[in-house]
Amino acid sequence: MRGRTGLAFAIAAVILLYPLWGLVAPVGPWQWHDSHIGSALATSFSLTGLALVLVVLAGTPLAWSLRTAPEPLRSAFEAVVLLSVLMPPLALGLLLILAFGPDTPLGGALLRLGLPTSNSPTAFVATQIYASFGYYLLAATAAFEGVPPELEQSGALLGLTTFAVFRRITLPLARLGLAAATSIAWVRALGEFGAIMVTSYYPHGMPVQLWVNLQDQGLPAVLPLLVVFLLSALPLPWAFHFFSRKRRRA
């Protein structure tokens, strides 16, 4: 039984990893110098980091409140969140530019405030927030729902204010689920291409730079960027994953 399970895992792993075989494809010498790795990496990590902080800061209290929100308010709000999650990335980008573009009243007002809504860091961060917020919210709500309400009740009966209960009971007990939610939001925002392509072609983040390199220079300029992208983006979700596994076993 154990041998069969191991074999099934091995087959699935090979299937999932097989695309990486493409990295050794004979595409010619890799172009490290003209790949714009540094600038794309800096853009992606700094702006995605900012987007992630905003998503977590806004999404965590909202997810916490959503757990105890009365019906039908909760169902209605979840329907809205699901809509944002199910939106195809390209469609999201088009809708964002139609709603926030510089020619719209809102986009014009933001532009006058010094916040251009296309081809700018503001547009980049805003698009990533739209792309990842729903995922974070759903996963964080599930994490909070895993905390037994009677433990929070015990905390209140022991004299803790609502905020203290959140800080000393809810948050520590939900931390693994919140780590997973953060990890999902990070991956979703960092890898966003379709929507970013429409709203913020400039500055080039990693996914757009991959596309540009493919168009301008071909695969030899894409593969080095891809390797750096994977090596730099994966440690965070891997760390969250292994940390949570370890804590669950402890």
């Binding site: 009740q153 009966l157 004299g159």
Partner: protein
């Protein structure tokens, strides 16, 4: 002094009780499903009465409902769970801030020693047996010296020697600290050992109040007589 007059509608009957109790131990006794646990729940603030009042030493707890954290309360049930992410020590000292911990060092040591918690102090809740968990939960509920202690069948499922030990400790501390104790237990023997006075409740109504002796000699209903036969 706890003063309360409560009306709370339940699916099968209406709880309508009025009583007051000072610094003593009072048992709530009656058949299963007579509203005793709901009454404790209302006093703790976990359920909201339909009408009436709850006053603790002149402070109104209802109406309007006073937030749970502002009630000087220790509440212990048979379903009590410890905080799984904290050690036994952190669970027991949960309600005390650093300054209070320093001030109450002698009290914490007494809790440790009376409830035999020293050997368990650094353990995680998942490493404890049922009886040990209940001892830690009792310590946690009483550590901050609440004015009102509510016990809802806290000894269910424990063996007799441990129940006797816990009852002796609770009685000792109630006399030392002077808190008001309200206890519910399905076992009249346990309740009699813990509380000298008792309120008998049937279908949400107080049918009798007095000492166990008075209840045993002149029970107010045949149901009560049947339950008291166990003593």
């Amino acid at each position: 002094m706890l003063e309360c007059s409560l009306i709370k509608t339940r699916p099968d009957f209406v709880i309508n009780v009025e009583f007051s109790v000072g610094s003593s131990r009072l048992g709530l006794f009656g058949p299963s499903g007579s509203g005793k646990s709901t009454l404790l729940s209302c006093l703790a603030g976990l359920e909201i009465p339909d009408s009436g009042y709850i006053r603790w030493n002149g402070q109104s707890w209802f109406p309007p409902p006073l937030p749970l954290h502002r009630r000087s309360l220790g509440y212990l049930t048979q379903r009590e769970r410890l905080f799984p992410h904290l050690s036994v020590a952190e669970n027991v000292l949960f309600a005390l801030n650093a300054a209070t911990r320093r001030r109450q060092e002698a009290w914490v040591q007494e809790i440790q020693s009376q409830l035999r918690l020293k050997a368990l102090w650094d353990r995680a809740p998942r490493e404890l047996s049922g009886g040990q968990t209940r001892r830690v939960a009792l310590a946690r509920a009483l550590c901050r010296k609440p004015g009102l202690v509510l016990l809802d069948e806290p000894f269910a499922g424990l063996d007799r020697p441990l129940v006797r030990e816990l009852i002796a400790i609770i009685k000792l501390w109630q006399e030392e600290l002077g808190f008001t104790l309200l206890a519910v237990d399905h076992d009249p023997v346990v309740l009699e050992a813990l509380c000298p006075d008792v309120i008998a409740i049937e279908k949400g109504q107080v049918i009798q109040r007095g000492s166990w002796q008075e209840l045993a000699t002149r029970p107010a209903s045949p149901t009560l007589r049947g339950l008291l036969d166990k003593i």
